[in-house]
């Protein structure tokens, strides 16, 4: 049986890294006595994957995991048992039981919707955003082949801003994603530090609206 679940990561655990979350769910599944299926081979491990990693420090109500079970169980029972043992700050919100042939989460995701809170925003932030978006946004990005300069403007699909709160609709698919920190770096320049804004992921969208909501043209 294959289960896909959406979970949240809140305030108190926002510094827990992606790697730590993988381990954390494996342990939670064992405590909840979920019958996990294991990979074949020399070093068997649970067949568990995630749609995408969330940066350390962000919160989210749109984290997605995909796990294979060795035997069938009721999906609500799955959620209840896992939620009964997850550490505070993590919670499974919805659960789907899907077919073996269903594509992987990273294959169906297309974009994500974020809310940012900017602390002590400069008075001219709104026009600054306009100006920034009117041209390519060239940023230094660490890639496998070293540092490269790339334009992240095409990956930002839409935004809203008022009073220190920003919404961003940005690309998130298997080929690439909008890096919020790089965008904010370009926007705030010297004012930018990790403590100057907070990021929350509201949703991950898919192209066709199966499982994940369908990606909108614009932010509502």
């Amino acid at each position: 049986m294959r289960i896909i679940a959406r979970f949240e990561k809140t305030e108190s655990v926002r510094f827990v890294s992606h790697l730590d979350i993988q381990r954390l769910f494996q342990r939670a599944f064992r405590r909840a006595q979920i019958p996990l299926a294991y990979s074949q081979g020399f070093n068997p491990h649970p067949i568990l994957s995630f749609a995408t990693a969330l940066s350390v420090g962000y919160t989210s109500e749109a984290e997605w995991l995909d796990v294979k079970l060795a035997s069938d169980m009721d999906k609500d029972d799955f959620a209840r048992r896992v939620n009964g043992t997850l550490p505070e700050g993590f919670r499974i919100i919805e659960v789907f039981s899907v077919d073996e042939r269903f594509p992987s989460l990273s294959a169906i995701m297309a974009a994500a919707d974020y809310t940012l809170q900017v602390f002590d925003p400069p008075a001219d932030l709104a026009p600054r955003i306009e100006t920034l978006l009117s041209a390519p946004i060239m940023v230094e990005k660490r890639t496998k082949g070293g540092m490269r300069t790339v334009d992240i403007r095409p990956m930002l699909y839409d935004y809203r801003y008022s009073n220190g709160f920003m919404r961003i609709l940005g690309c998130l698919d298997a080929k690439g994603s909008l890096n919020i920190d790089l965008f904010m770096g370009a926007l705030l320049k010297q004012d930018a530090s990790a403590a100057s804004y907070r990021v929350h992921r509201n949703r991950i969208f898919s192209n066709d609206g199966v499982l994940m909501p369908k990606m909108p043209e614009r932010l509502s």
Binding site: F15, L24, R30, R31, Y38, P44
Partner: protein, 611 residues
């Protein structure tokens, strides 16, 4: 600490999860009459890996009117962030400033963490020296194996706890609570605490030195203070509290698994090994108890690995029943079982293969010395035959990674002993490659690691000089050459600076205290970490107090010379240590005391040992 401020700090540091707490099974009590901050003075990933401290966390939180919260040494990035923000160091559980606790308790496992004590105190605004602390400051206490010679840190401690804490710590909290309730001042509180078995109050004693600077004795300056302080021992370990519901960290820590403590103490009597003497006598837990603890801990943590922990787990008297039982119990859940300090004998061979079936781990063996003669000197009862048979068994069972641990600079060591290390490595390599290709793994990974011998208090070698730095370096080079050309060998050794310092501090007296603090002021931190170790900070500190490290490290002490830890009674008698020293020089082996008592405690404590 308010959350905005915490946020700002955490966003500046690497691995903020070191400071955020909130892990599964951590214990949060809103308030309690007595508050204890329990500190392992190293980074979170190391501190959280220490079983003893975690037992105490559980034990102290079980005390009704007490709470116990964790704090670790902040990594330099956090230290700087706190200093810049002018914020105090805080606990993981409720982010309370450390100075607001009644008691700050340090677990001291190795000397090279001492400078981190100062980081914790300074960032909490607590004066370093006990004599400078006010009535309103917390009581600063410590315990752990380093307390067996507490003198180098004695001036910083209000209270030192000797021995097992499972019973002593709750008693300490009870007495402390009573004093607090009665409004006792610090001196009266210390007096009350000094009546508890295992409690040492450094300020009740003053050291005396001869004109030439030699240590003469510790003189009591408090009429009611006992002459000697007896180490506290949990007599019935089976009934003693254990770690309970272990905290499950988010970060990956050094020992990220369930630890089941089979027994405490060790009967082998290796003469260089402090743990082998200061935890006597051996006290075992029953197999049923261990099974129950393992089941409970797997259920409440979800860990997939159990480690059977002890100083020499292979000696557990019920091992041949325990290992299959625990494997059978947990294999269906895919929980693996590992046995550190593995001793392979024929009965275990089948189980060994099953242990590997669940997960493959490297094999670690510690012959410690290269020749039989030197192994007899140090009473390491391993023969070459044992060793070769063990590794051959393991190779045939599919292992191809072996670590061999040796020490260089052991008393009576000669060139021949160093060559013996290479010889042993060669034989292990040959044992691997002489197995037909289809019956073993492809390539051998044989790691030969050589640490430098550090003479420690409470061992038969406590009077021995340590090799000088120059001599250690020479020997390392000699050994590296000797190991050249052996198939599959990798040689690992460390710069000797840290072990030289360790030798000074381990056998130091109270004069070393000023040096420790000065080294801290010169920038020493996390000294057990090669990348942090600052030799200059230490050299300058010794110079500042005109103290010659060689006086402590490289001098052969007379067995009649007063020792700075003579006022401590760890149960094992000095007479026994002297006798063992003679046996070492004669290369005479002393039997494992499971085979017959060797009388290490003399008549005095005959009823302590039930072997």
């Amino acid at each position: 600490m308010n959350s905005a401020c915490l946020d700002a700090l955490l966003s500046q540091v690497e691995k903020p999860a070191r400071y955020t707490g909130g892990e599964l099974n951590s214990i949060i009590k809103e308030d309690a009459f007595v508050k204890v901050a329990l500190c392992f003075p190293d980074v979170y990933e190391i501190g959280m890996s220490h079983l003893g401290t975690r037992i105490l966390y559980n034990v102290m939180n079980a005390c009704e009117d007490a709470l116990c919260e964790r704090v670790y040494a902040p990594w330099p990035d956090m230290e700087n962030a706190l200093k810049q923000a002018g914020e105090p160091l805080f606990s993981l559980e409720t982010k309370r400033p450390i100075a607001s606790f009644d008691i700050v308790a340090f677990s001291l496992l190795y000397e090279m963490c001492y400078t981190n004590i100062f980081t914790v105190l300074e960032l909490s605004g607590i004066p370093f020296y006990a004599k400078d602390r006010r009535e309103s400051d917390p009581l600063v206490i410590c315990g752990g194996p380093c307390a067996c010679n507490p003198e180098p840190i004695a001036p910083f401690m209000d209270v030192v706890l000797l021995g097992d804490g499972e019973e002593m710590n709750p008693e300490l909290l009870r007495v402390f609570a009573a004093c607090k309730r009665n409004g006792c001042d610090k001196r009266d509180t210390l007096l009350a605490l000094s009546k508890i078995e295992g409690v040492y109050i450094p300020s009740f004693y003053a050291p005396q030195y001869a004109e030439n600077g030699d240590f003469i004795r510790l003189q009591s300056v408090e009429p009611q203070a006992p002459d000697r302080i007896l180490r506290r021992v949990v007599r019935d370990l089976d009934a003693a509290p254990y770690i309970g519901k272990p905290i499950v960290p988010y970060l990956s820590i050094v020992h990220d698994r369930i630890a089941v403590e089979l027994f405490r103490g060790c009967t082998r009597g290796c003469r260089f090994c402090q743990a082998g003497f200061i935890y006597r006598p051996v006290r075992e837990r029953k197999r049923e108890t261990l099974m129950q603890q393992a089941k409970d801990m797997v259920a409440c943590t979800g860990y997939d690995e159990i480690s059977l922990l002890s100083l020499s787990s292979g000696d557990y008297s019920d091992l041949h029943a325990l290992v299959p039982e625990i494997l059978d119990e947990f294999a269906p859940q895919r929980v693996s079982v590992s046995l550190p300090s593995l001793r392979i004998d024929s009965l275990l061979k089948n189980d060994l293969e099953r242990m590997q079936a669940v997960r493959k781990a490297g094999l670690t063996l510690a012959p410690e010395a290269g020749t039989q003669r030197l192994r007899d000197v140090i009473n390491k009862g391993v023969t070459e035959e044992d060793l070769i048979r063990s590794v051959t068994d393991a190779f045939e069972a599919g292992w191809n990674g072996v670590k061999l641990y040796f020490m260089i600079g052991l008393p009576t060591e000669t060139e021949e002993d160093l060559l013996g290390i290479a010889d042993l490595a060669r034989k292990v390599s040959q044992a691997f490659y002489s197995i037909p290709k289809d019956r073993r793994e492809k390539g051998l990974r044989l790691s030969v690691s050589a640490s430098s011998f550090v003479p420690k208090p409470w061992t038969p070698f406590q009077w021995e000089p340590q090799d000088t730095k120059e001599s250690i370096i020479k020997k390392q080079q000699f050994l590296r050459n000797a190991l050249k050309g052996i198939r599959g060998v990798e040689f690992a050794y460390h710069a000797p600076n840290i072990s030289v310092l360790e030798a000074v501090v381990a056998r130091g007296d109270r004069r070393i205290a000023d040096v420790l603090l000065q080294a801290y002021r010169n920038g020493a931190r996390f000294d057990s970490w090669d990348e942090h170790f600052k030799l200059k900070a230490w050299e300058d500190a010794f110079a500042a107090y005109d103290i010659d490290p060689a006086y402590y490290a490289n001098r052969r002490r007379d067995t009649e010379e007063p020792l700075p830890w003579d006022h401590i009674d760890m149960l094992v008698s000095k007479a026994y240590l002297k006798r063992e020293r003679e046996n070492a020089y004669a290369a005479t082996v002393t039997r494992d005391c499971r085979k017959g008592c060797n009388g290490c405690m003399g008549e005095r404590y005959a009823d302590y040992c039930k072997i």
